[in-house]
Symmetry: C2
Subunit: 307 residues, 2 copies
Amino acid sequence: MPITVVGSVAFDTVETPSGRRERCLAGAATYFSLAASFFSPVRVIAVVGQDFTATEEAVFNAHKIDTRGIERAAGKTFFWQGSYLENLNEAKTLQTDLNVFAGFEPKIPAAYADSDFLFLANIDPVLQRRVREATPQAKLVAGDTMNYWIKDHKPALLEVLKGLDILLINDTETRMLAGNDNIVQAARAVMAMGPRMLVVKHGEYGATLFHKATPGAQESHTFKTPAFPLEQVTDPTGAGDSFAGGFFGYLASQPELTPGTFRRAMFYGSVMGSFTVERFGTDRLQSLTREEIDHRFNQFRELTHLD
Amino acid sequence: MPITVVGSVAFDTVETPSGRRERCLAGAATYFSLAASFFSPVRVIAVVGQDFTATEEAVFNAHKIDTRGIERAAGKTFFWQGSYLENLNEAKTLQTDLNVFAGFEPKIPAAYADSDFLFLANIDPVLQRRVREATPQAKLVAGDTMNYWIKDHKPALLEVLKGLDILLINDTETRMLAGNDNIVQAARAVMAMGPRMLVVKHGEYGATLFHKATPGAQESHTFKTPAFPLEQVTDPTGAGDSFAGGFFGYLASQPELTPGTFRRAMFYGSVMGSFTVERFGTDRLQSLTREEIDHRFNQFRELTHLD
């Protein structure tokens, strides 16, 4: 089933202990789309500037990603510069130029109207809500956010949460959003804000899927996936968005959404995140094959299963 | 098979967001022994002072732990005071009184001579080495250490590592010991120092078992267990020692040590750690039943397994 994703397409300049890369194709919607495209058709809503050329367009085309919703605006594409030299687990932002993103008003092509799956990547919650309201047909809606929106735009974010089935955020964001340091209690508080599932991403320690408690539900409604033990993390940028792409892309590819489907989706999320960080930018996702994905999925099983 | 453990028996005063407890029975050898006793017979080597009374002795007796190796010395038992008020994941030490532990010279009762399993809890590596050399019959030897010994007593510690089959330490200690921030590379470096297996404990994120690469070994020789998602962590003290007790106690209970045995041992380690932190000191271990352990083991399976 096709997925519509709204979010940023960007150019990033990053420096990590492995080196430096100038203006590589990046942005949450880019990482999400490439990761999800291995499982399901993907349609993007974003805005880019005149520096987004046929070279970048070709990356999306190579993965059969529908780019009719990528608006071309006068000016430059969103630019971010960050450093992981001090801490490989957390980027230090050196520069953010919103450029054409500053005036972004998401427009949803008519051709996207039959997307049953909608992903609201990390952007202004006002825009997330607008896209959610314009896609009433969506049957499963997931989204991401970040500390900035939690801290300074909470009322708008709370409106978005009401329309989400699944929220994907990290430990710190979960604790901040709930105002509670215990992650189990915090997860419950966040799910009370709307989403019936919460994926808490733990960086190098994997992720946990929480389901909202329902009367008569199974005792255990929590599932954990580790991160893959990698000998080298070249560039952590996009790991979370790639996780979301693998997770949601796999869900959209399945005929029904059983508890087992969500468990496997968590594994595919971790698999896609683990590939992304092996190289700079989207390099690894661009060269990836489905065979490599399935091989690593099996490695995750060996890494976690008793028998 | 019986396990001999050498380490500290202590009184702890702890304060956590859940409250404060004065002088509760504690120490690495105590937590280890109680946790391991659910799986295998345990024999302790330690020293205590005159404040160690029949009340404390009864806790060991209730779990059929052999205390003939606990020496009674003139003076007071080792005392530690710590606070988790600022950070539930890391204790702030407020006071350490070595007391009778300062002159500790481990003596191994003749009755312990047939222990095939030896655990060297976190004490001065000089003492760990002495006990190791005095128990040449031990077929599987595991041990723990801490940042203090890594930083200031590395030569003595390196001698201990040569005699270990399995080392259990946390992420920070692994990185510090190896001088490498990548945990996979650091694990390999630590195993090159002696132990053929390394268990890296990640606190609230579980633990990873690394096996030394051998020619012709399976591709994946790494196994991950999560920590149990708890709604309340009352007192984190002893979680790592309880993990070690569950892990090593289970190993000692098995007729052979297959890769599957080590995987299940990792789960039992996490299970025992998760119980310990539910109450202050050893309260939860004291009230625990084997049925509760097996129930939580099955919850770990549900938490991590696809099917």
